[in-house]
Symmetry: C2
Subunit: 299 residues, 2 copies
């Protein structure tokens, strides 16, 4: 096991436990006909996933000495947003996946209608958690967080990227096209994780350039690693079906560059991401370790 | 045509034109593979609907002398939210409807995957529009609007109500159950329209009680009228299929009370709603006319 992943393990374990605990408290199953909705939300959100996005939020908040409880609320909001996108992406009309995080997908377990609603409910909840004054006492921070999350998940973010992904089955994207697709589909929310830390730390927009560069680079590196795992990995390790992109004839970083050049490109992006953190001292070591982890993980 | 509807006609025409213009500017189709997503959003959002929710926002804002441009931004956000819920409710896995606002539903016209994404994108956009500083200069107002919209659309609002609606096909709700279902499914967003005006007017929460009562009463009256139209109206006037609730064996206000008592109950709710506006003078006449319109409309 590589050194960087080893040093990240305790932080990943800690954030996973913190996020599960927070989601357990947030998603209490009511004793009324909405119970299946909450059960479906819990099934998708609790007890699975790498919690990389929450870790990114907390790691960036550490740079600015933000209280961990506040950072965790933002992290929970982002995880709700991420999980909603997974539920909808897995639907029969979309990627039609049966397994996610080693469990049946929500529509397999609870039916399609409940899955659509569980996604919708988590989507709304993400904003409600962010805009709550328990997240930050300064309303400017809360409004700014909400605005940026809305952008990251809307037609110029995740939803737009997923639309490009659907188009990828019938259009052959070049490298610029695949890069743009991934920047919208996964990059925008990863960038928001880091941006959120800077917003909480009241860093002015022009002081966030380095962190933005870091986020952009690890977002792409993460996606290239995903493409490599999809092409070479095992379903058992991934907790979901692999080899799907090739089967669907979709252009990916691996199909366009070949595995070797894709791997080299990902490594370059990681070095570039770490270089963006030069202004920071050891307080950014967790962010550096996360950058390395994006390409060294096995799932 | 009843007098109240007559006096409301110019206001309805004006808000319809304003909302269409704002959505046209907001949803510019990009010259990239996301074009079908934006076309689907435009198909669903522009050129249709009564625009009752936007009118409610603007009418409440008039009470507090809020600039119409600001009120319209909130109104657009709420209409995005409403249209998203219609797109998802119409999906094959949900109500499986072919027609909406006199046009094919989004999934009929653009396919199911694009319909899911168009709903998701409008959902996110609603929050991004609200949290933008062009909506209100005070970040506290923006954060408060976002929080309340998140609550109105989440598991304790629209998404929870739609889940109860799905359960209604296999559970027989009594009057309290149907009332609760409708308060979540449609009442929460209607209440937010009025609440948003009060938030924009910086009315403290305990000063909003009367407006909240008004919103609750017209929300229920509106739903009873919907049930009556579904039981007795024509698809041509409604722009969508009617008679569905009876066919699905769902309990409604009409099935539980009978048409005559349901009509009397709706009329009572309208009088009650208008009574809540007693503290206001002629500046609340538009809200009074809207209350009457909820039960007098023919679609």
């Amino acid at each position: 096991m590589p050194r960087a992943s080893l040093s990240l393990a305790p932080a990943l374990d800690r954030i996973a436990a913190d996020i599960d605990r927070a989601l357990d408290a947030l998603l209490v199953v009511p004793d009324d006909p909405r119970a299946p909705l909450f059960q479906a939300m819990r099934h998708a959100a609790i007890g699975g996933g790498k919690r990389l996005r929450p870790l990114l939020v907390c790691a960036t908040c550490e740079l600015f000495n933000i209280d961990r409880a506040a950072a965790l609320r933002v992290a929970v909001a982002i995880e709700c947003m991420h999980v909603y996108s997974l539920i909808h992406d897995d639907l029969p009309a979309m990627d039609d996946d049966d397994m996610r995080r080693g469990k049946p997908t929500v529509h397999k377990q609870f039916g399609e209608a409940t899955a659509i609603l569980a996604g919708d409910a988590l989507h709304a909840l993400a904003f409600a958690v962010l805009a709550d004054e328990r997240t930050h006492p300064d309303p400017f921070v809360r409004a700014d967080l909400t605005l940026e999350l809305g952008r990251a998940s809307g037609p110029d973010g995740m939803a737009g990227g997923q639309m490009m992904d659907l188009a990828a089955e019938s259009t052959s994207f070049d490298l610029a096209g695949v890069t743009r697709l991934q920047q919208l589909k996964t990059g925008a929310l990863i960038a928001f994780c880091v941006e959120a830390g800077a917003i909480m730390g009241r860093v002015a927009p022009d002081g966030r350039t380095g962190l933005r560069g870091y986020a952009r680079d690890i977002g792409l590196a993460y996606q290239i690693a995903d493409d490599l795992l999809d092409a070479e990995g095992s379903a058992a390790a991934a907790g979901k079906k692999v080899g799907k992109d090739a089967a669907a004839g979709k252009a990916t970083f691996v199909s366009l560059l070949g595995a070797e050049r894709a791997r080299a490109q990902a490594a370059l992006l990681v070095e570039q991401a770490i270089a963006h953190l030069r202004p920071f001292g050891p307080e950014a070591d967790l962010l550096r370790a996360i950058a390395r982890y994006t390409v060294e993980r096995d799932h």
